[in-house]
Homo-oligomer: 367 residues x 2
């Protein structure tokens, strides 16, 4: 069942990729003439976009096809624009998170850093950071130009652009909040969930679904906007909570990511919150931690590099004290609620089923 | 005559500022609810926008009023949006240029850096940089939302958005080129002028004039678009060349900026180019530099901190070898060409005269 979801995204990725190629070829001509760095940027952006799974573009197409049997060029342009927009956000994120690797390859700012090193520029990190900031900015402007030019009813195009710009402002503020929380030792469950909602769920799931349906612009599509928004929020929260779980309980072989990285980076996940509550004794009703577990957990949560025994300790406590179960229950509730809404959704049954497959994938995925 | 230009911008600034206040008050409510950093960001953005001269917003209004007697709310929204957009670009520029001061106050990333220091965060510079990147991004999205929602004919609104997004991509690439040239010892006159065209002239002058006229949307306005573009390019080049001149020959008392900063920062201005050509002997026809002037100029151009005698040497050579005159001749030619086109422009004579005043201001300003 979950394999269907992955196959769907792979297929959409090919279609969006073809469109993206055409668009970037055109822009390479426009920008490469007057600008020394134009073609170079377009090629880096192209390679970077193509490494992504194009989930957001795929969800736009899914929502569109719930209500329209045939794809339109305009909705493909929109999906391509959104992939450029998202890649541009990631270019900036990687600077903030100091991630030298993204999508299995050197991140964009890191590529420029290496270029600066090759050329013997002073302070190649600053050179890379600066070029990365520009690259992200230019990506935003390219995506914006595409969304501005969508061949659609003006009121529909306006609605799509308004939702994207408003939600992106929200994503930027959530990113600030995320970095801020990395420095703070006190966060509430509500803050964590609100961050998940704005940084991941609404942006990655609700926004593509809602704007894909807006683009379809049928009566059924318009009547579904509120539902699609809610479905997206819940699917997205499930996705994020699963991400947290895989960070602790997944295997590097399957996820391709180091286990425990969230803890090492001081990310304030729901797991982190529940674990530190045990230390604070706020959850005394469930019994104190044993005399040695408490200080050991405290130390492990502060570490910048976890070893196997730290991980075993954290996993053991999360299992024994019902934290893993608690997060899983939350995921299941959200998933059930999303499923009920999906089943009530009007539109093409095949695409409604695909939404269910994606939901199950979010809940059961191992990578 | 030039005083009229300044008075005009001061007056428009009040009008745009009022609109900007209303817009930011509304956004403060929208973003302050769900986001911890929403209100804080809006207040920093507001203070930062209000420190600017709002030249771009003022030029939009000027071009609009060439063709329409009364201002509209939509054109005010547009001017306000453009000021937010420009401030956001500056927020990113300051990170790249490591400018702790902008518009006479701490730059935005530097404000966040200071906040990080106060709170004892590790690596406050990185914290400031990261928050500055987000702040600029969010500013772009806010401005984009405003431009998307302009209460205008859809085709007009689309044209305005397309021109802004395309030109902003161009500005980003010019910014890359500018940084790149800072590291290179060989640049051509054509590269320098092309950079001036894309980084300053088209963005600061052509784009506001053209999109202001687009917003007016009268027959005369539409017939003037090509002329306004050319006028803007030439006015903007004059502005930039004057900037270079003031950097060498201006006085800190009048400009409020340190003299010789371009040389210290390794900026590849037209002056720099002509001066280094003397060293290369490419301009042998005008005679070699004296035995001591050559090495002294070479040293001075490499310095990161110029003293009074370095400056005197550079100024003396630029005067004696006709470099200053050459740049001035270029400015006068551009200015004359712009003036001829302005005189042929249809539209309200009072605003045409104002364009001439601004042109003269660009040519004769001391600050």
């Amino acid at each position: 069942m979950e394999e269907r979801a992955l196959a769907f995204f792979r297929e959409q990725r090919k279609i969006i990729g073809g469109r993206l190629d055409d668009i970037l070829n055109r822009k390479s001509g426009d920008l490469g003439g007057p600008h020394l760095w134009g073609r170079d940027l377009i090629e880096r952006l192209r390679a970077f976009c193509f490494l992504g799974k194009m989930i957001r573009g795929g969800l736009i197409i899914l929502a569109y096809r719930l209500y329209r049997p045939e794809l339109s060029d305009a909705v493909l342009d929109m999906a391509a624009a959104v992939e450029i927009m998202h890649s541009s956000l990631l270019i900036h994120d990687d600077i903030m998170d100091r991630d030298a690797t993204r999508r299995g390859e050197p991140s964009i700012f890191h590529q420029y850093r290496l270029l600066g090193e090759q050329r013997g520029y002073s302070d190649p990190l600053h050179f890379g950071t600066s070029f990365g900031i520009c690259a992200g900015d230019i990506g935003f402007f390219l995506a914006w130009e595409l969304l501005t030019s969508l061949d659609m009813e003006p009121a529909i195009r306006m609605g799509i652009q308004q939702r994207w710009s408003a939600e992106l402002a929200s994503v930027g503020l959530a990113q600030m909040q995320d970095m801020h929380m990395g420095f703070e030792d006190r966060v509430t469950e509500e803050e964590v969930m609100r961050l998940y909602l704005h940084k991941t769920a609404r942006y990655t799931f609700s926004l593509p679904l809602v704007t894909g349906a807006l683009a379809a612009d049928t009566e059924e599509a318009v009547s579904s906007l509120g539902w699609l928004e809610k479905i997206g929020e819940r699917m997205g929260l499930v996705f994020q909570l699963k991400d947290d779980e895989l960070d602790l309980f997944g295997s590097t072989e399957q996820t391709g990511k180091p286990v425990g990285a969230d803890v090492e980076q001081g990310k304030k996940t729901l797991y982190w919150l529940y674990l530190t509550r045990l230390l604070d004794g706020e959850e005394r009703s469930s019994g104190e931690l044993s005399g040695t577990d408490g200080p050991a957990l405290h130390r492990a949560l502060k570490k910048e590099r976890l070893d196997a025994s730290d991980l075993e300790l954290i996993r053991g406590i999360a299992e024994d004290r019902g934290i893993r179960r608690k997060v899983e229950t939350r995921m299941r509730q959200l998933s059930r609620s999303a499923e009920m809404t999906i089943r009530r959704l009007p539109g093409d049954e095949a695409y409604r089923d695909m939404l269910l497959s994606i939901l199950r994938y979010n809940l059961h995925r191992k990578a």
